[in-house]
């Protein structure tokens, strides 16, 4: 009887510990995905009027992290940026920018939220479109990022 009671107590204790552990796991923040392809590469876009789109070459996207964007020079009032994603580097590009567009009004370091990885994409490219005339924009970007920067979208 004594042994049984002890076993019962141990079982309750074990259950309590497991329950607490599960509760802790449930409320603990998820470990952020390690941002892999974080190296900065340069972009320079020149626009001779509204509507045209320019973009970088595709880069591998390894995580669901935000994209990093640095706007070094901005020769227009503002610039519309997009993160396109695809399963293939060769095409099938779909705009995966959160909210559809990320607008920069000034230079600086930024983040662009996107859903490339969440939609099965393993390739991303930065594209840009002017809707305010001719001018240029240049800077750096990376498909993944572990930096904390103001979000454009």
């Amino acid at each position: 009887m004594k042994n049984t009671k002890q076993h019962g107590s141990k079982a309750h204790l074990l259950g309590l510990v497991c329950g607490l552990a599960l509760a802790v796991l449930a409320v603990a923040p998820a470990t952020p995905a390690l941002a892999n392809n974080v190296a900065n590469t340069t972009y320079s876009f020149y626009f001779s009027g509204d509507g045209a789109t320019q973009g970088t070459n595709p880069r591998e996207k390894d995580t669901s992290s935000v994209c990093y964007l640095r706007v070094s020079s901005l020769g227009l009032n503002h610039m519309n940026f997009y993160i396109d994603g695809s399963t293939y580097s060769s095409g099938g590009w779909v705009n995966r920018t959160r909210g559809g567009v990320a607008v920069a009004y000034y230079t600086g370091h930024f983040s662009i939220h996107n859903y490339v990885y969440e939609n099965g994409g393993s390739w991303a490219r930065l594209t840009s479109m002017s809707d305010c005339g001719s001018g240029s924009v240049s800077g750096m970007w990376s498909p993944d990022s572990n930096e904390s920067n103001p979000s454009l979208n």
Partner: protein, 256 residues
């Protein structure tokens, strides 16, 4: 009465057709209805062509400023595209192919591409700062005088690849965290550094198989290589012609 007979040959033909449709049809179909704005097409000849193992100078010139004091320049004026003014003297080695990034001496710090395992093309770049000064705008943005090694893009048989691995003396005071800071280095005036830069051949093959509909790619030693000195504008960018790639001897991990 005519009976249709399912022969092994017919089965094989149907199977091949299904496989080909899966490999090529899916990416082709998925491209419909999507915007297909190409990056800058390379149409012009390189503005300068340098050779491997021969030192050459990249001289940075001052940029103009607009009414707001913001730097402005024509992107195709490459002397104004470098991150410095003055002279940097570069020497780029011929490519060497290693079986993996580890074999090439790169150390994984958690910021490698997800498929970082295969053959890696390695260049050793000697960067001598003759009298160069990092642009104020670059110092302001990066936190310290710095040169981004991502400027050394590798053209493999006409396909441009970004670097995946870096090994070079770091820069103190950068605003970037681990990973992003890896691609930056800076020799002080009168000093030099040797940077090792690696490119994933797996990424190249994935790219080629998707864009050129080629299933098999030549061995690394049969491909042609050229460095594109990239400042964000590819049309007419200066290049460095490289010789044929050689395979690193077994057990060799350093090109020093």
């Amino acid at each position: 009465m005519h009976h249709r007979i399912v022969t092994p040959a017919r089965v094989a033909i149907v199977a091949c057709a299904l496989v080909l449709a899966g490999v090529y049809g899916v990416p082709w179909l998925s491209s419909f209805g999507q915007k297909e704005d190409a990056p800058q097409d390379t149409k012009s000849d390189p503005s300068a062509t340098y050779q491997a193992n021969v030192p050459f100078d990249l001289v940075g010139e001052e940029r103009e400023r607009d009414a707001k004091g913001q730097e402005q320049w024509d992107f195709w004026d490459f002397a104004k595209g470098w991150d410095w003014t003055g002279t940097m003297r570069l020497t780029v080695s011929d490519p060497v192919v290693y079986t993996s990034p580890e074999a090439a001496g790169f150390q994984d710090d958690g910021f490698w591409p997800s498929d970082a395992s295969g053959e890696t093309v390695v260049l050793d770049v000697r960067i001598e700062n003759v009298d160069a000064t990092c642009r104020d705008s670059v110092v302001a943005e990066n936190g310290a005088p710095s040169l981004n090694l991502s400027m050394f893009e590798l053209d493999i048989d006409g396909t441009t690849q970004y670097p995946s691995y870096f090994s070079a003396p770091g820069v103190a005071g950068l605003v970037y965290g681990a990973g992003k800071a890896e691609s930056y280095t800076w020799p002080a005036p009168g000093e030099s550094v040797t940077a090792r830069i690696g490119y994933s051949l797996d990424l190249y093959r994935e790219w080629v198989q998707g864009t050129r509909l080629i299933v098999a790619t030549p061995p690394a030693t049969d491909l042609s290589y050229q460095v594109v000195l990239f400042t964000g504008w590819s049309d007419g960018a200066p290049v460095v012609e490289l010789g044929a790639a050689t395979t690193a001897p077994e057990g060799v991990t350093s090109g020093e």
